[in-house]
Symmetry: D2
Subunit: 405 residues, 4 copies
């Protein structure tokens, strides 16, 4: 093994991994640091990598690709996991894995390495990374240091770092009160202080949103335009995908929107508790439902709703790069092209409410649904025949079996 591509944040843990890879495998390490909107400076990672003798350093701004090719397609499905979770962590892994494999091909590396600890909630992260790696490069060697090494305590890690000359900030010397994961769609908080699911979070953990209690006393109204299934403008101002999500995050965060505290079922078989901030995504989900309600036909909308839990499960479990996810995406995208219109949302102290929706191709027809005279557009005599035939099988059942219990 000559070259390894490491997903490198520049933080303490992945710096230790970098050194450990050099020590253990005697290989050249290529570092890959991505901006997915996590809100951290990337240049320090470059400096650290250089210090540690890395010759190939990749630093990529993937924000637009992330939102355009991963977040938006996922939202087209109205994907929600277990009724609540917007999949903010899950959707970032496939892109990192994909880019890491691309780099491996570019530099001729035969191995990749990630820093997911494989413990606690990081199990899921390992699965998602590695399923991505294997699907995209079946012969790749995957190095998961936390499954391999014996640095199985904070003390040993710190000692290893110090011996290797890696600077250790004071705050890193103890276990963190919770672990975080951030990208442009969301931030998650898990573990330690949040372990008891009957004990609520404390306000201080949040970084992207004010509490609903502290949000403005007056509502904010937004008109969001959708084209081809994706949001393209706020209040008439067109913006790119990443700019759109950034703006929605700001609007949502300012209005106390998008906090979530759940216990979720992990692919690896246990339950875990997570606290999430997804301000923009929370607005987007409601807004999309609003515009879909006038743009999508009942048949396609209901089929989408039935497919959605499976789709969300696939993403949660790490199967973005699977043929069944692509099948579902093809079905979903078939109707996305018809989602063109505008939705008006009201943001107020944690609430997102749709208060208006319209489309040049609206399927809503006031003449059909009105209580007023409707010019024959809907002949209620038709309803008699409709009901009679819908009831025919139930009448046969009632006759032969007696009425339902």
């Amino acid at each position: 093994m000559a070259w390894v591509v490491l997903a490198y944040s520049g933080g303490l843990d992945t710096s230790i991994i970098l050194k450990w890879l050099q020590d253990t495998y005697g290989c050249e390490v290529v570092t890959f640091t991505a901006d997915l909107g996590q809100g951290e400076e990337l240049e320090p990672a470059r400096a650290k990598a250089e210090q540690m003798g890395v010759k190939e350093i990749y630093i990529d701004d993937l924000r637009e690709e992330f939102v355009r090719d991963y977040v938006f397609p996922m939202f087209r499905a109205n994907a929600v996991y277990e009724g609540e979770y917007l999949l903010g962590t899950s959707i970032a892994r496939p892109l990192i894995a994909k880019r890491q494999i691309e780099i491996a091909r570019e530099v001729g590396a035969d191995a990749v390495c990630h820093g997911a600890t494989g413990k606690g909630n990081d199990q899921a992260r390992s699965v998602r990374f590695e399923l991505g790696y294997y699907g995209l490069k079946p012969d790749v060697k995957v190095i998961a240091p936390w499954r391999e090494w014996d640095l199985n305590s904070r003390t040993k890690l710190i000692a290893y770092a110090e011996e290797a000359g890696i600077p250790v900030a004071q705050s890193k010397r103890q276990e963190a009160p919770y672990s975080m994961d951030a990208n442009l769609l969301h931030i998650s908080y898990e573990g330690n202080a949040l372990e008891d699911p009957m004990v609520g979070y404390t306000e201080d953990i949040f970084t992207r949103s004010v509490a609903p209690e502290d949000a403005p006393d007056a509502p904010t109204f937004l008109d969001i335009d959708f084209e081809g299934g994706d949001p393209v403008a706020i209040n008439g101002e067109r913006m790119s995908p990443a700019t759109m999500l950034t703006a929605l995050n700001k609007y949502g965060g300012d209005n106390g929107i998008g906090r979530l505290d759940i216990v979720e079922s992990r692919f690896v078989g246990m339950k875990s508790r997570g606290v999430y901030e997804t301000p923009g995504g929370t607005i987007l989900l409601r807004a999309r439902r609003g515009v879909e309600s006038v743009c999508l036909d009942r048949g396609e909308m209901h089929l989408k709703d039935e497919l959605m839990p499976r789709y969300a499960e696939l993403i949660y479990n790490g199967f973005w790069f699977s043929p069944e996810r692509e099948m579902l995406q093809a079905a979903i995208d078939t109707c996305a092209k018809n989602v063109n219109g505008t939705v008006r949302v009201k943001l107020f102290k944690g609430n997102v409410d749709v208060v208006g929706r319209e489309s040049a191709q609206t399927l809503y027809n006031a003449k059909l649904s009105t209580f007023e005279e409707d010019d024959g557009a809907y002949d209620q005599k038709d309803a008699a025949g409709f009901i009679k035939l819908q009831a025919l099988r139930l009448r046969t059942l009632g006759t032969q079996r007696g009425p339902p219990a």
Copy 2:
């Protein structure tokens, strides 16, 4: 046709129908007035019916049966129609139809009659009533006056009423600005003033909730206990199903919770716009998700989520009394028995947030999901094998087909 059982509210429209039945069919009319928590006095309906010469008058308080046998079973499914609607109107029809048919059997009536206009949003009501009637008594004759008579304008209706000596309140002489439908689960507002889906509702229509803006500035916390899948106590106080829903309505309404403004897809083929108040139901849905998150296994929870859209569609379309609804209910109830625990919710200006959940049989195991040492409960070496076999088919695909597009 000797006897007809009429679903009778005591209002103007059903009083006209009562008279019209007597005039047109020369039959004895049995009136049936039910308390489903719509918030109206029932005794005036008795007086009116007596005045009009009705000999058999049924007035039933069905609130407990409604919540216990219809609302709660439906909530066990986390049923939501088109991602938003809690099915408050739909779930009341089957019970009315069932009781009406029971009365028909008791008095030996061969026909039933309902007052759904068959116009506008009332189409759905007709379908739900009539599918219920036919399923429960296949040989019943269904009379739907609004499809049969020629009283096709407000003017003609009023004239008919006055000629028949039915008192007409001044407010009933014009078309209402919107139609309402109420029961213990919700109130709906539809039609006329709400016809343009880009124009928001006005605050004055609501009767069960304050606006989030007007709700208290301090949150309310509730501990809700669930047993066998249903809520049984609030803050330790046990209460019957209808009392529970009444209490939740009060808590929700006081905190600005449960308003909804949507465009929905009707079974009869068109879109319609509805505004809803469902304060207690909105709390219940979130609370249930909270307690289910520690009580239900991933396998059963995900299967429930996949079945839910179909289940909601069946109820929306009027197929409560269908064998496929019963099949789904059987599946859902199989896991409901394991939902025993307590959920803590925070109510604040329109928001319902789960902030804690616990169960004596919790499936959440901090030892398994923690970042701390876990005493071997979860061996992360297992994850390597798990991932390798999960990835095997993706690797085969990648080898044979090349990586995914």
Copy 3:
């Protein structure tokens, strides 16, 4: 109404309709006669139409379009209705409706007419035609003579024909012992003599297949090649879609393959009994399963299997031209492109057995599935971790709930 496009077979019933349209509506009738492989001469239809004064006569050979754009896409889904029926009747209607509407646009007609009787099993035919018409031309006027006229007995029909100078063959003077519907995919037999579902059919009704008892005593082996999901060659000989299905019909019919006798559930609410011959389709379904088994990944195959019943139901109910059918088709076609390979089938006295299958991109890997040493391609140690994590939730359940009942 100036012009009506009539789906015209040239037979007695549609000739009567032609005359009745001219008499009743005083309109110009455009006849449309299609060859979908029903096995009848089309030129007599032209002669008859000319005799009756029709000025625009369309006679189209649609066999290739039928198989390529309707039959093959449907088979990509492995569509089977209620576990047995290959949808031979259902799949022909959309194409007829589509072509009829195209002609209506060409000639500027504002109405279309079909000869489905609306009685008995022809109900479904009406639904399928009319849903197609309305979907493709929302403002079209649909004329369904059998719902409109008073020719409600064989005697009245014959009298009308004789008065109109339409020749009536002796065999048409009585009710047929059963009705037939034929196209390149199948022939159906229904009604009258087949009404008692406990009484079997008689051998004489069949026209495309010998009885298994009368088929050759030696098996026939075929190698069928698939490309992009569709069959393209038999025993190395490439052929067009319609030629392929014709050839498979011959092979199947000669070997007693493809007869089916079922009771099915109609969209309009009743059960009906049908007897079918689908020799080529029966071979194709089994053959496709064979080639898919080495070409499709488990994930996509299982998802296809879960979507299939819905897809089949949509086609059966007449919703070929619906957005939800298109969504499902998009999902199905996503994996069809990977179905490239060869399947060997053995045909023998009613049986179709797959006896071999191979593909240049086969996902079958003998090294992985063998009992032999496998060079590390599959490390059975991985299975231990895989099983442990699969079992984790079941162990948690067993601990908290006790073992399953």
Copy 4:
């Protein structure tokens, strides 16, 4: 570890395992040998176990329990895996695991052991056994010798046996040409000689059926009665579940019915090729479809069909003892109680054809589906309204989007 319950066949491999357990773990081994209809004598297993010093020997005839509580419930779902496979191997594992755990509780054992090799197709067997064990006794220790020991060649195994004084038949000294698995539902053949999926099986492997070519030239007709969803009588003769399946196996085997040659997708990620004999099950599946066609309503039948692939996948993957399988079973059993009737099947040279079906509660109504006058049971005028409302959304779509592509 003091006691281990071993699933013991009495054959060479499990005898070696027995000895190896004694040697390696120094524990008391309890042998458990079950009759599931595999067609082997059980008493030799007792003799061998006694010879090897086993003190607790369990030999159970589980045939009735197997068919009544596992095979029949599974058939109620019409379960077929990947369109072809009747799950004959998969359905036997849960019962063996369950009984093994029962014995472990009886004797106070804390470990169980199975002889699945974990290689080749035996991987699936391991998974199914172990998921059963863990679900039923979460704290059980599972011993899988083939994953643990170093007897990784035939030569080493034979040497170990000879050293231990275990007699080795000449036929066992070489690898078998294929592996077999048998129970009352089926026999499977896999591996070695069957590894190339393009090469067909040879006639000599089969033990339960004649070739279709060799079956009688005259058909056999059976009338099979169903009660509560399960078959109870053949030609009027009532019989117990196991007797029923035995009889159907005889009828099927004599008529060349139930052979299957497929490539299937394993849970552990690879494809494998299997050849199966399932004579009775093949008859039962077709027969059940026949009786269901007149006993089950469209709504329940279609829902069953949609749930089936998931149900089959769960059983195939080893999740019989899972809450989601129980949910699906509850749904399926809800309609099974209405399956009461008789089906007539024709068996002929490999074919099973339903030629008649009837039920005292039949939902088939000749009056409704007939082409004859139907006394108003079905008013075809109703169809007009039915179609108009079904088409309404398609017309709206056509107007707003233009016709479908």
